[in-house]
Symmetry: D2
Subunit: 230 residues, 4 copies
């Protein structure tokens, strides 16, 4: 699947922020695309489902769904079908975000469906043990995000480096093909640089970009940090 | 809210059917629009979330979301924000479909949010008692769908007329402003006519249209039945 | 069902407090029984499920389950069957507590099952609109508990008297047989007296008793307040 | 934890069967105890929560809870606290049964809590991949139960031997300390013997015993099969 995605990468999760909804989702995605083109750094965005198709139409950077359900075509009113987000243009999906935790058996189904459909699977996890378990399900990416740091501005890569390192090690041990990202509290270029130094292949970031006064400036700072780390 | 919606009405729920996903969702919506224009009957569609914006762009008939979450702008990754479906062009939302049942307190929040935002709220229910409870929450529409009949081709309006009548009566008693629809097993014009005769203001239909060999023909039959009932 | 329960009443919810678990649940229930016998005031307790049978064996005051599931005998591993709590000796069950919210259709099933089995149903609600909806499902009791006040020591009966009054009125209007209790922040006799004055038939209380330094003293204060209100 | 439990073992899940509720749960547990004493085979039972304390009082064989919640003492009305089932006398708990699937992050919390409290953790799984993930969380036991075979009388150990073998191998590879059981469709001694031959350390069985005409006879047959396999 990873032919659809290059690392190191910055994935920007729009959550349900007003600043990342509707027309603002498209504007923000254009900014992300511009920074990516300017710096050569891989930047990807994960808008809300109702904005997915418009964002995919508007930009050429890879776009993720924030969630899909463990379902097949049929009778699942109000659920998110892999085929629908794929046809809308998404290259992959976040899975099990801390704000959308899933059952173990459902995560397995979603990862397997993504694999069969050529979509990138990014499983979010809360600690090293859960990351190891998630890696056993063979997703493309595990993204460690200690929930207690999300939205705090206290970067996981600097405040819990040992958890990041342990996660990178355990994930690699279970399955060397699975990459590790990290997120939570990432607001500065140095947080991104620290994340890469710990062995991750990028960051999953939300408020640090979406709610920034100047998202372009922060994305640029992140991208420079990545380029300097290479 | 009902300025956005006229009755009697046919609401077509696309569920997660392949026949109602992606480009097929747009084609089906165009058919619905054509039949509506030809017959003057109000027809509305409820595509999947990833198709919502494209469908709203493609047609001028009212479009519903299949579900929204009881959330506000902010930290709700993977959930459905009212503001996002409204900006995509939806006039309202299904709530508590039998395949997406919700907590009582969440239904209340969603209805209240819809009301404040000028969106039409259609709460699905499974029997007369639950319909009465739902009506107390002041949605625009209650839609009775006995789950055991969904997808069976056994029409609720003919096999359980007394439940439909009782629902219409209880809903009206709790709140005379709340309209009642019914659904489940509706596949023929006579099922629609029977539904109107029992006091409902239309039908919520899914497989009967979406999985029909010739959706246009069935929609036309439904519309003729409505026009003959007026 | 209400032959099993007299009002006005104090229902003490043990939640999962350490102070109300295991042997401590039995000791606390004996205190509740003693105060009830001494003062003649109806006091009921709702211990955890694993303590239900022992508490029912130890005391003669009415005992409630904190929750039951909308299931029937059969394949429901890890769920709570009405028949099991009834055989353990419970006279009724809390339903839809703010810490265990349920789907609308499931609340209806549980209330109906309780009614058929001669068990008292107490549905917890968060505001007047939800209380009205709950009352339409014909439980024995609706218990209003604004979640934002739970555990605060700010009594609902004094800080939100208008919500209590409105709830009492709406519930009575939907179904005159349904009684209203209230809870949240109740820690003093005067809070209980205020609750009765607003038209409720008692209180649902948790930390105010279970985590009190001297639960007997507080229960006695509540009971005196009830006797003085009669 | 496994000092509390010897293998090979038969764990009998009472689900919410009428035949395993209340007094019948105690009678069935006495039968299990008698067969265990007679044959020397380890037999354990998992009654419903409301019966847990009475069963623990009545018999000396190890007793399991069917489920506990990922919570700590405090505000969790209607949830199952580890401390409450431990004080009731349980030696461990089933986790993530096919009828009570849990979120990945919650399974991790429950296993960790069980470990700290000296309780045996038995995680149920549906296939080899999920078993491997579960094993990474370091429970004492993983119990494979393909949901499509549960209650069918088609034994997993004979109809899907390759899935059982693969599960045993993957679990051992992730963590050699984690034992594997299997279940689903087990009704005869030969099914149990087949399970042991495939490398499992016992069976998790429900209807095969609880709904048997003569549970003692079937348990005896299972136990003889285990003794002959040693």
């Amino acid at each position: 699947m990873m032919k659809n995605l290059k690392v190191p990468i910055i994935i920007v999760n729009y959550k349900t922020y007003s600043e990342g909804t509707g027309k603002k989702a498209i504007m923000l995605s254009r900014i992300a695309e511009e920074v990516s083109l300017e710096t050569g750094v891989n930047i990807s965005v994960a808008p809300q489902l109702a904005d997915l198709a418009s964002v995919c139409d508007a930009v050429s950077i890879p776009v993720f769904a924030q969630h899909i359900d463990p379902i097949f075509p049929g009778n699942s009113t109000g659920h998110v079908l892999l085929e629908s987000v794929k046809e809308a243009g998404a290259v992959g999906t976040l899975i099990n975000h801390s704000e959308r935790r899933l059952k173990l058996c459902d995560i397995e189904i979603i990862i397997a469906r993504a694999r069969e459909s050529g979509m990138v699977s990014v499983v979010c996890t809360n600690n090293a043990a859960v990351s190891e378990a998630a890696a056993a399900l063979k997703p493309d990416i595990v993204s460690l995000e200690p929930p207690e740091l999300i939205g705090t501005g206290i970067p996981v890569s600097k405040s819990k480096p040992e958890v990041v390192t342990q996660t990178v090690t355990l994930v690699k041990h279970v399955n060397p093909c699975v990459l590790t990202l990290c997120g939570a509290g990432i607001t500065k270029g140095e947080d991104v640089a620290a994340a890469l130094k710990l062995g991750t292949r990028g960051v999953l970031v939300a408020s640090g970009i979406v709610k920034a006064k100047d998202p372009r400036k922060v994305l640029m700072e992140f991208s420079v940090a990545i380029n300097e780390s290479l």
